[in-house]
Amino acid sequence: MSSTALHVVTGKGGTGKTTVAVALALALAGRGQRVLVCEVEGRQGIAQLLDVAPLPYEERRVASGLGGGEVFALAIDAESALLEYLDMFYRLGRAGKALDKFGVIDFATTIAPGVRDVLLTGKVYEIARRRGEKKDTGPQYDAIVIDAPPTGRITRFLNVSTEVAGLAKVGPIRRQSDSVTAMMRSDSTRVHLVTVLEEMPVQETLDGIAELTAAELPVGHVVVNLVRDALLDEAAASAIDEGSLDAEAVGAVLSSAGLDGSTATTLVAEGRGHLERQALQAAQRALLAESDARTAELPLLDGVDLGSLLDLAGRLREQGVA
């Protein structure tokens, strides 16, 4: 591999972006890759998920020994990125500190629209271009996974050069943003959208795909998360629909198995509820299928720990996301 692959994970809030980003990093590492997973929103979601100390502005190894690969994690914040940037380009050692003292950094990164995003993505760009220790060894990381902002903001976040177009016409921020945008649009980048099978998130996902496509940003997979497995097979489903599997029939089986037959009514009602939810899921799945995007599905697990992350990682690999 000659360049660092970039996986951007977006999605509606709370659908599982952080979980999927980390699972994807583990999946890639499982293929023997050296992977960096970054977060950019100052929430320490990765650290919480992996149950490690808060991540600094410095890459830390968080997992290794999975099929020979390694996962590093990094929390990128705009303030540190700006200080680092000033230091690199202007050798603003002391003046950089002065900037901090005047509250300028806060000011510049929150007020000038787009500057924050350029700083965050600029850091990713810098890392993606790094080479390994030895000469000619290729990139330092095989892949970078970004736990990115939600769908509503993702296009602006990745398409930074448009965002800062109104700002400085020349100068380093402008140059930087053009390079970042070029990287985001390149073949080595994939933007994955995490969703759940509900109305609003699915609609947002479809809108997001259209927006990304219009901005020439490469859409990767739609990762459908929190999928509830079908527990009733076709025979049971139609038996409930037709009414042949009713309280009486169920009650008889329960009694013969030594259980309380009077709970049959509840069980049948629960079965109907399950079928109804499955039908709603299916309807949303059909909507997603109308877009061209490839999809992968992850089940709703009972809690998320390292074991379940590895389970999700395996499923992402099987479905070709990693």
Binding site: K12, G13, G14, E41, R43, L86, Y90, L92, A95, A98, L99, K101, F102, G103, V104, D106, F107, A108, T110, I111, A112, P113, V115, G166, L167, A168, K169, V170, G171, P172, I173, E198, E199, M200, R228, L231, L232, D233, A235, A236, A239, L245, A249, V250, V253, L254, A257, L259, T263, T266, L267, V268, E270, G271, G273, H274, E276, L280, D302, G303
Partner: protein, 402 residues
């Protein structure tokens, strides 16, 4: 229950403080939402919570129920989903409350509006500055960025609008939705962030770089402005300077108004409802928020646990259901189908137990804060009927599915 003083100070090993709790519980110990909306001394209800938990839905449903119960209600919604907005007649974005057709009974009525933050900001500027000065501010690129995209402007303007609506004195209950921010705390903190930015040292320096003690810093200041010009381009800084000079005389008024609204939130006629989904992150946020309300002496009504899935407690128990499913599977056609039904039951029990754990955890940390669960409906809530159903669930007078 009457509002009482802050009960217990936070102490190790003790339940954490929950400050003033203003609502009562029903016979089953749940938050009594009907008692809250029938209490005419309650004039403002604020629905807070982390992103996507159901703040907008809860505020609209609550406002609807209060109007149906005879109160003159105004609901201030923020970014409602398109279909919900349409069903409430919120098609015109004119930043003023409009009557919702089909809502209200017993002399009650419902007006609804959705916040237009930029317009609210513009209107404040226009009403506090001379026309020339207002025009100068409104046309300033920096102002335009600030009023349409600064993180915190929405919260600030929600507070501003609440202050305005309250001042109009046309409604006897105002229900307030809060912006879709990550953390519920943003609603309380963001206005302060914006105003301290506008009031900040840096802005002061921009205004008068060579006066008073700032003179001593002016060498450093030159470096700073130099760096900003290099990075952002000189235009940005000069836009900011123009804006700050024009805005300076308005600033005091802005701050005063924000402070007045903040005080309104602490007043006895206000009640906060915290909304959370039964998941660790949302419940953690709810917990922080409850503690913060206590710290700020803001009156709390209780916690709405929204989108609870499987509120099952009856039927066959978990282990028994699992064992029976194992025995029955493959023993015959109907037996296998019953085994599958038992699988469904087991899944529901597991979900219910997980959600209950979250609710119990919160209850242990905040024993004085009443909760009410709201079942997840099988579809989105996007019409008045849906809002009424959520209202029924909030007041525990309805059945989950229909």
């Amino acid at each position: 229950m009457s509002p009482s003083k802050s009960r217990t100070a936070p102490a190790a090993g003790r339940p954490r403080s929950q400050g003033r709790v203003v609502a009562s519980r029903d016979a089953a110990g749940h938050l009594d939402v009907d008692a809250l909306i029938h209490d005419r001394s309650v004039r403002i209800i604020v629905c807070c919570g982390s992103g996507g938990v159901g703040k907008t839905t809860t505020s609209a449903a609550l406002a609807m129920r209060a109007a149906d119960a005879g109160r003159g209600v105004c609901v201030l919604t923020i970014d409602p989903a398109r279909r919900l907005a349409q069903s409430m007649g919120l098609t015109e974005l004119d930043n003023t409350p409009r009557a919702v057709a089909g809502a209200g009974a017993d002399g009650g009525s419902l007006d609804a509006m959705m916040l237009d933050m930029k317009r609210t900001f513009d209107e404040v500027v226009e009403s506090h500055a001379t026309p020339e000065k207002a025009a100068q501010i409104l046309n300033n690129p920096f102002y335009q960025a600030l009023s349409s995209s600064f993180a915190g402007t929405q919260e600030y303007m929600a507070m501003e609008k609440l202050g305005q609506l309250h001042g109009q004195d046309e409604w006897d209950l105002i229900v307030v939705d809060t912006p879709p921010s990550r953390s519920a705390l943003d609603f309380l903190d963001a206005p302060e962030r914006l105003s301290s930015m506008l009031d900040g040292r840096f802005i002061k320096l921009l205004l008068a770089p060579a006066k008073g003690p700032a003179r001593l810093l002016s060498a450093g200041f030159g470096l700073v402005t130099g760096a900003i010009n290099k990075i952002l381009g000189a235009q940005v800084l000069s836009d900011v300077q123009t804006f700050v000079a024009a805005f300076d005389t308005l600033f005091g008024g802005f701050r005063q108004r924000a402070e007045a609204t903040y005080a309104l939130l602490q007043a006895p006629g206000t009640a906060f409802l915290v909304v959370a989904s039964p998941e660790p992150a949302a419940m953690r946020e709810a917990s922080y928020f409850v503690e913060r309300l206590a710290g700020d002496r803001m009156p709390l009504a209780g916690l709405v646990v929204n989108r609870v899935h499987d509120d099952v407690t009856d039927g066959i128990e978990l282990d028994e259901a699992r064992a029976a499913a194992r025995r029955l599977r493959g023993a015959g056609e109907t037996e296998t189908q019953v085994a599958e039904l038992l699988d469904v039951h087991v899944e529901r029990l597991i979900t219910a137990a997980r959600e209950q754990r979250e609710r119990d955890g919160f209850a242990r940390a905040h024993p004085g804060v009443p909760q009410v669960p709201v079942t997840a409906l099988s579809t989105d809530v996007h019409d008045l009927e849906g809002l009424r159903r959520i209202g029924d669930l909030l007041a525990r007078t309805g059945t989950p599915q229909g």
